[in-house]
Symmetry: C2
Subunit: 349 residues, 2 copies
DNA sequence: GATTAGCACTCTATCCCTTCGAGTGCCAAC
DNA sequence: GTTGGCACTCGAAGGGATAGAGTGCTAATC
């Protein structure tokens, strides 16, 4: 974007003022609040130019200007400077992310909740993408005739299990044989390389009658596939109603309606994540306003960072807030939570 | 409540009309809509009387009447007649509560979601109160040095587990010994009779050095206690914004804010449940308006029913909606969902 | 060519006023 | 106990009028 320095400053100032006041910014108040060494008429010319470039817009003829999606984008890409959190803010976050939990899932929920409280927006996290982690243990425990529990320990330090139905007639011993065979042959394999065929092959050689064996193997396969399913954790949805940006009820309703379909949101995060992998920029994903293809999020920005459970196993954590947000602050809050999360996760791997 | 027949009819009509129109009901429109064989002036006298009794009230001097909390209460207790759901509605619910799930938890979430979709309100369910169910199996699986998984099978057909930390030096064999001892001594005991002391006693006699043994026993105890912790499932919170009763944003915000603290809501349901156990009425709990002690629910009614996983293990399922609701319909919807849930649960026990 | 002062114009938000209508309470009559 | 009649009340809706913040444009100035 070809902008001379003053125009950059003007855009910067407009974004800052609009974010903090929630009122369209006029040329006069811009002069009052900032140390521009020119007159308001000059700024008006600059603003007309910025509007022509599509960076700012007028709600109506005689109002001040507000940043457009493109304006926020320019601000985020080129103008803003990330500010570090104060030690006090850092401490607050560290304190809230309770490190005494026993399971990764709880840690993630914890971080998500903290992020919502810290930013005042809706926060969300995706569970780790486990498809690159590999099986370390797999046990099938007989619960009662016809019912068993498949317990899997994954390389990322995660334990998953699933109750499955098995044929009634199977003995404890037979189950242990099957379980042992699967474990022996599949240990060390990344989850995304395990298919029904792999599992069936692994189960061969156990002296269990064919149809019974096949059903157990299928259930084991289903359990493994379930283990790498993605979950999404949302938190602080109610905070939307605290934001003046969503005081119109209609907008709040649309947004909450969309968020209530967590599967859809998860799908969108995945899409974003895949798009990111191909480009080589840093680990933040930022979508502003209409850039977001989910319904009802036109007035939102969607910012996520990538956390890592291990080198190859990662997930996302971030916020959905109004596009009129303090980007520099929010980004560093997410970044700090992410770092803390990464640190705490080391305990599990 | 001493009311002559016509006054009962008037109150009934006011509730019906107000529920369906969301407008204060005047004496004239009451005449128009119902077949009262008296004049509007007579109804005005009756209404003045009902107001004097605190059953209806005026939003302001020259408006019609709306039912008060007490009025709704009288309506629910004595006036309304429960209507059965139509076969079509029943079928719709039966279809939605997917019976192919493998875990009780999923079944409950499923029913909760269905209830929210059916009623259009916020729905909620409590997990089964497992403290009366007893231990059928308990296994401690070594995951890696220092980490184990406690798997418990309960009499109600529920499987619970918890990752716990154990001393690094313990061998597989030692763990199995401890696990076996606990299982042998505690099988058949209701969860609420298991204390740290019981577990420690159960673990005696295993040839494992004292401090190590003690830590494992403590962790096993913690796992058992976690197994009978109550969970709450909320669904459809966003539907609140669809209701005209909460179009004022402030009210919606308060309500959603309260609901976001699911622990508090769970505590309240528990309180209600305990109060119910002492009185001997039927299985519905209905709280209207100010009867609800949770903040921000003054304009709501809270209705729950009790489902049963086994004779002694039960939980709650119900809705939170505006107190201006079609009670007879909503109650039969909850009732039907509850029955369907009970039926499906038999598969698990 | 960039900057500035000045000015006419535009649009919204707010306040005030009026009107309308539904509803009430009360009284006197039935 | 019931009814018709009537004065009264209050909120909702609509219609100016006004104030204020902001704009674009022009002509003068640096």
């Amino acid at each position: 974007m070809l902008l001379d320095n003053r125009k950059k400053e003007v855009l910067h100032a407009i974004v800052d003022d609009y974010v903090s006041t929630n009122e369209p910014v006029g040329s006069k108040s811009l002069i009052e609040r900032h140390n521009f060494q020119v007159s308001s008429a000059t700024l008006r010319n600059d603003m007309a130019e910025l509007e022509h470039l599509g960076l700012i817009e007028k709600p109506h003829t005689s109002a001040g200007r507000i940043p457009s999606d493109k304006g926020y984008r320019e601000y985020v890409n080129s103008l803003m400077t990330i500010e570090e959190l104060s030690p006090k803010e850092q401490l607050e976050i560290e304190k809230r992310i309770d490190s005494s939990v026993d399971e990764v899932t709880d840690l993630i929920k914890n971080a998500t909740h903290t992020l919502s409280e810290t930013t005042g927006f809706v926060s969300l996290a995706m569970s780790p993408r486990l498809k690159k982690s590999f099986l370390k243990q797999l046990k099938i425990l007989m619960i009662e005739p016809g019912k068993a529990l498949v317990v899997m320990v994954l390389s990322a330090g995660v334990v998953k299990d699933k109750v499955v139905r098995i044929p009634n007639f199977l003995s404890d011993e037979q189950i242990m044989k099957i379980s042992g065979a699967i474990e022996k042959n599949l240990t060390g394999k990344p989850l995304d390389e395990i298919t029904l065929v792999t599992v069936e092959t692994a189960g061969k050689g156990t002296e269990v009658p064919e149809p019974l064996l096949k059903q157990v193997l299928y259930e084991a396969y289903a359990a493994i596939k379930q283990a790498d399913e993605l979950n999404i954790y949302l938190d602080g949805e109610h905070r939307i109603l605290e934001l003046p940006d969503f005081s119109s009820l209609g907008r709040a309703r649309d947004l909450l309606g969309t968020l209530s379909d967590s599967g859809m949101v998860a799908g969108y995060v995945n899409e974003m994540e895949n798009a990111r992998e191909h480009s080589a920029d840093d680990s933040f994903m930022i979508r502003i306003g209409q850039e977001i293809t989910l319904e009802g999020l036109d007035d939102c920005s969607f910012i996520t960072a990538t956390y890592n459970l291990t080198d190859s196993v990662s997930g996302n954590i971030g916020v959905i807030g109004p596009k009129r947000m303090l980007y520099s602050k929010v980004i560093s809050q997410i970044d700090f939570v992410k770092k803390k999360l990464n640190k705490e996760m080391q305990r599990f791997t």
